[in-house]
C-alpha cells in the first residue's frame, strides 16, 4: 500500500514536472497568433500617447543603465581589479538583470491587467504569463545582444542571445508562479519591488564577487541570482565559475517548475472569480 502510494506520488511529481516544462512551449506554439497580438497590445498600451512611442521600450532601460553608470563610474569612480573594464562588467550584469526585474515585476500583475479579456470570453489563461516573459525578453535580449556585439563582436552578440534565452527559460516557472501568487497574495506585489532591489544590491552586478568581504562571500551560495550572474560573466568575459553556479539554479528552477505547475493548475478555475 505504501509502495503503491509512493509510486503514485512520484508519478504525479514527474507528470507535473514535464507538464510544467512542455506546456508553456505547447501553448506558445498553439496560441502564437494570439500571443503576438497580446504582446503588440502590450507595447501599444505602454507607449501610447508618448512622443517617441515604441522607442521608450529601449530608451527606458537605457536611461536606467546610464544613470547607474554615471553614479558608479563617473561619480564614485569604482574600478575593478583585473582585466575587465568596469563599464563592460557592469553592462554585462545590469542588462540581464533589468530583463529579470521587468519579467518578475510584470508577472505579478499580468492576470489583473488582462482580466477584461478573459473574464467574459473563452480564453486560454495559461497564455498570459508568457506575455511579460516574451515582451520583456524581446526588448532586453535585443539590447543585450547589441551591447555585447558592440563590446566584443558578433560572437559575443550570439552568446548574449543564447544567455538571454537560457535566462528566459529559467524565468518561465517563476513567471507562472508570480502571476498566480500576485492574484492570491496581494501583499506579495507590494513587497516585491523592495525584494528585487535588495536582490540587485546583494548580487554581484555592480561589483565583483571578489570585492566582497571574505566573511560574506559564502552567503553568495544562497543567492541564485549570483549564480546566474557568474554564468553570464563567464560566458561573455571568461570570468571564473563552478559547478555550483549551475547546480543551484537548476535545482531552484525544478522546484519552481513543480510548484508553479501545481499552483497554477489548481488556482486556474478560481482566477476569473477572484478578479
Amino acid at each position: 500500500m505504501i509502495l503503491k502510494r509512493a509510486v503514485w506520488f512520484i508519478r504525479g511529481i514527474f507528470r507535473a514536472f514535464f507538464g510544467g516544462l512542455v506546456d508553456p512551449f505547447r501553448i506558445a506554439v498553439r496560441e502564437r497568433e494570439l500571443l503576438y497580438l497580446l504582446i503588440r497590445r502590450d507595447f501599444v498600451a505602454r507607449t501610447s500617447g508618448t512622443v517617441i512611442g515604441w522607442g521608450w521600450m529601449i530608451a527606458q532601460p537605457a536611461l536606467q543603465v546610464v544613470g547607474f553608470w554615471f553614479l558608479l563610474e563617473l561619480v564614485l569612480q569604482v574600478r575593478l581589479p583585473g582585466r575587465v573594464s568596469y563599464l563592460e562588467y557592469y553592462l554585462t550584469g545590469i542588462l540581464p538583470w533589468l530583463m529579470l526585474n521587468e519579467i518578475l515585476m510584470r508577472s505579478v500583475y499580468v492576470l489583473d491587467e488582462f482580466s477584461p479579456i478573459f473574464k467574459k470570453s473563452r480564453f486560454p489563461l495559461s497564455v498570459l504569463p508568457l506575455v511579460p516573459v516574451l515582451s520583456a525578453g524581446m526588448i532586453h535580449a535585443s539590447i543585450f545582444a547589441l551591447v555585447a556585439g558592440a563590446l566584443g563582436g558578433l560572437a559575443d552578440a550570439a552568446t548574449a542571445l543564447a544567455l538571454s534565452a537560457g535566462m528566459l527559460l529559467w524565468l518561465l516557472p517563476a513567471a507562472y508562479l508570480f502571476s498566480i501568487t500576485g492574484v492570491m497574495l496581494r501583499d506579495f506585489r507590494q513587497i516585491l519591488p523592495f525584494l528585487l532591489n535588495l536582490a540587485m544590491y546583494v548580487t554581484p552586478i555592480m561589483y565583483l564577487p571578489e570585492m566582497l568581504p571574505q566573511a560574506i562571500k559564502p552567503a553568495l551560495a544562497f543567492n541564485p541570482f549570483a549564480d546566474l550572474m557568474a554564468l553570464i560573466h563567464a560566458g561573455l568575459q571568461g570570468l571564473s565559475w563552478d559547478s555550483g553556479n549551475v547546480f543551484r539554479p537548476v535545482v531552484l528552477w525544478a522546484v519552481l517548475l513543480l510548484l508553479s505547475r501545481i499552483l497554477f493548475r489548481r488556482a486556474e478555475p478560481y482566477v476569473r472569480e477572484m478578479l
Binding site: E33, L34, L37, L38, R40, R41, V44, A45, S48, G49, P116, I117, F118, K119, K120, S121, R122, F123, T181, V183, M184, L185, R186, D187, L263, R266, A267, P269, Y270, R272, E273, M274
Partner: protein
C-alpha cells in the same frame, strides 16, 4: 447528437474573505471559504438548431448557466459538452484596446475568440462592411463613438457562423439601423441552424424567437418546455411574488432608439384625447392613434400596445401584424395608424396604455412610449374581475306546470 449536453453540471462559487485564503486553501487542501450555489446540478440535452430561452428573476442562475456553456466558468460538479464553435455575446469588445486601430482590434478580438488569422483574413472585408466603418477601420478605436465601437465588436463576435450562439440580455446593438441589422443577423443564424441560447427578461422576445424555454429560480430548473407554457407559469410565479414582469415595469419613457420613431401618440376615449381618461366599461370607445417616421428602405414597422393593470400585469395587448394590418406609409417613410376598441371591455379599475413601434416581424422594438396614458374605468353593473366577456344568456320560455302533474326532473321538495 446534442449541441449541448449537461450532465448534473452545477456551479458553486467560493467566497474568500481575503485573497490569500485561496492560496492556503490550494496548498493545504483545507477549505477557508464560504460556498454559495449559483446553479444546482442540472442535466440538459439541447439538440442542434434549437433556440432556447432562459428566463428567471435576477440571481436565478441564468448568467451562470450561460457562462458554464460558454466556457468562461468552470462547473463545480458534473460535465458539460458543447459540440462545435461557440460564440458568446456576453460582453462585446472583450480584448479591444482603444489605442489600437479598428483593423488591429479585429484581429485581436478574433484571436481572443479563438479564430485563426486565416479565418479573420477571409472574413475581414465582411466585418468592415457589416460594421459600416469604412475607412475609419484604420483609426484608433478610442476615436470611435460608442455605437461604432459596439458595431465593430458585434461584427467581430458574429463574424463566423457559430454552432452555438449564446446571447445574454440584449439583442440591440448600437444605433437604430444597426440594432435591426444585428437582430437580423441573429435571426439569420437561427435560420442557418445554429443552436441559440438566449437570456432575456423580455417574455415577448423569448416567446417570439424560442422553441423552448428554461425557467430558473434560485439556481434550480423550475420548468423546461414549450415557450407559452413556461412563460405562463413564470408570469404566474412572478405574480405570486407580487413582482411585475421586468418589461412591463420599466419606467415611463418615450425616446427614439431605433430606425423608426414615434412622432406622436394620442389616446382618446369617446372623442376626448389626453393622457388621463375616464371610460365607462362596455360603453366607451378607446382609440389609440400613432404617428411615426421610419426608414423608407426598411419594411413598414408594426405597432403594438399593451394595457396593464394597477399591479403592473398585462391585461391585454394588440399587435397590428397579428391582426393582419400593415401601416401605410408616405414615400418619406412616415405614416399613421389607429386602433379602436369599441365597447371597452375592461371592468372598473385603473389601467395604463403602453405603445410600441416594432420591426416588421413584431419582435425588435424601435421605439416605445410606456405608460403613456392612464385609463380610469368605471362600470354600471356589479361584475367582478377585470374584463367583461361578450356573452349571451338564454332562458327559453317555460310552459306553466300542469296542475296535478309533478315535474319529474325537478321534484318538489
Amino acid at each position: 447528437m446534442s449541441a449541448i449536453s449537461m450532465r448534473a453540471a452545477g456551479k458553486t462559487y467560493r467566497s474568500y474573505r481575503r485573497p490569500h485564503d485561496l492560496f492556503w486553501s490550494l496548498l493545504s487542501r483545507t477549505p477557508r471559504y464560504r460556498e454559495w450555489t449559483a446553479l444546482h446540478p442540472l442535466s440538459l440535452e439541447i439538440p442542434k438548431a434549437q433556440v432556447v430561452g432562459v428566463m428567471g428573476v435576477n440571481g436565478a442562475g441564468k448568467s451562470t448557466l450561460l457562462k458554464l456553456i460558454a466556457g468562461t466558468a468552470v462547473p463545480s460538479c458534473g460535465e458539460i459538452q458543447v459540440d462545435g464553435h461557440v460564440a458568446a455575446l456576453l460582453e462585446l469588445g472583450a480584448g479591444f484596446h482603444g489605442e489600437m486601430t479598428g483593423r488591429e482590434n479585429v484581429y485581436l478580438g478574433g484571436s481572443v475568440m479563438g479564430l485563426s488569422r486565416r479565418t479573420i483574413d477571409e472574413r475581414f472585408s465582411s466585418i468592415v462592411e457589416f460594421s459600416e466603418l469604412g475607412e475609419r477601420i484604420d483609426q484608433p478605436v478610442k476615436t470611435y463613438s460608442s455605437g461604432m465601437y459596439q458595431r465593430l465588436a458585434f461584427a467581430v463576435a458574429t463574424a463566423v457562423v457559430p454552432d452555438v450562439l449564446i446571447i445574454d440580455e440584449t439583442l440591440s446593438v448600437g444605433d437604430g439601423a444597426f440594432a435591426r441589422k444585428s437582430f437580423d443577423r441573429i435571426i439569420g443564424y437561427k435560420k442557418a441552424g445554429a443552436t441559440i441560447l438566449f437570456c432575456s427578461h423580455s417574455w415577448h422576445q423569448v416567446e417570439a424567437i424560442c422553441d423552448r424555454v428554461l425557467w430558473l429560480h434560485e439556481g434550480k430548473l423550475m420548468l423546461d418546455g414549450e415557450p407559452k407554457r413556461v412563460i405562463s407559469a413564470y408570469m404566474d410565479f412572478l405574480k405570486s411574488l407580487d413582482r411585475p414582469s421586468d418589461t412591463e415595469a420599466a419606467p415611463v419613457s418615450a425616446g427614439a432608439v431605433g430606425a423608426a420613431h414615434l412622432l406622436k401618440v394620442e389616446v382618446g376615449a369617446d372623442g376626448v384625447w389626453g393622457r388621463e381618461l375616464d371610460l365607462w366599461s362596455e360603453k366607451s370607445e378607446l382609440a389609440v392613434r400613432v404617428e411615426f417616421e421610419s426608414d423608407p428602405k426598411l419594411p413598414a414597422p408594426a405597432v403594438g400596445l399593451t394595457i396593464v393593470g394597477a399591479d403592473g400585469w398585462a391585461v391585454t395587448s394588440a399587435l397590428s401584424i397579428s391582426d393582419g394590418v400593415r401601416a401605410n406609409r408616405r414615400p418619406d417613410g412616415s405614416g399613421m395608424i389607429e386602433v379602436r376598441f369599441p365597447a371597452f371591455a375592461l371592468l372598473k379599475g385603473t389601467y395604463w396604455v403602453s405603445i410600441f413601434l416594432l420591426g416588421d416581424e413584431g419582435i425588435h422594438v424601435y421605439d416605445r412610449a410606456e405608460r403613456f396614458a392612464e385609463l380610469r374605468v368605471t362600470q354600471a353593473g356589479m361584475e367582478l374581475g377585470v374584463v367583461s366577456l361578450p356573452r349571451e344568456w338564454r332562458s327559453p320560455e317555460q310552459e306553466p306546470p300542469v296542475p296535478g302533474i309533478e315535474d319529474a326532473t325537478h321534484p318538489r321538495l
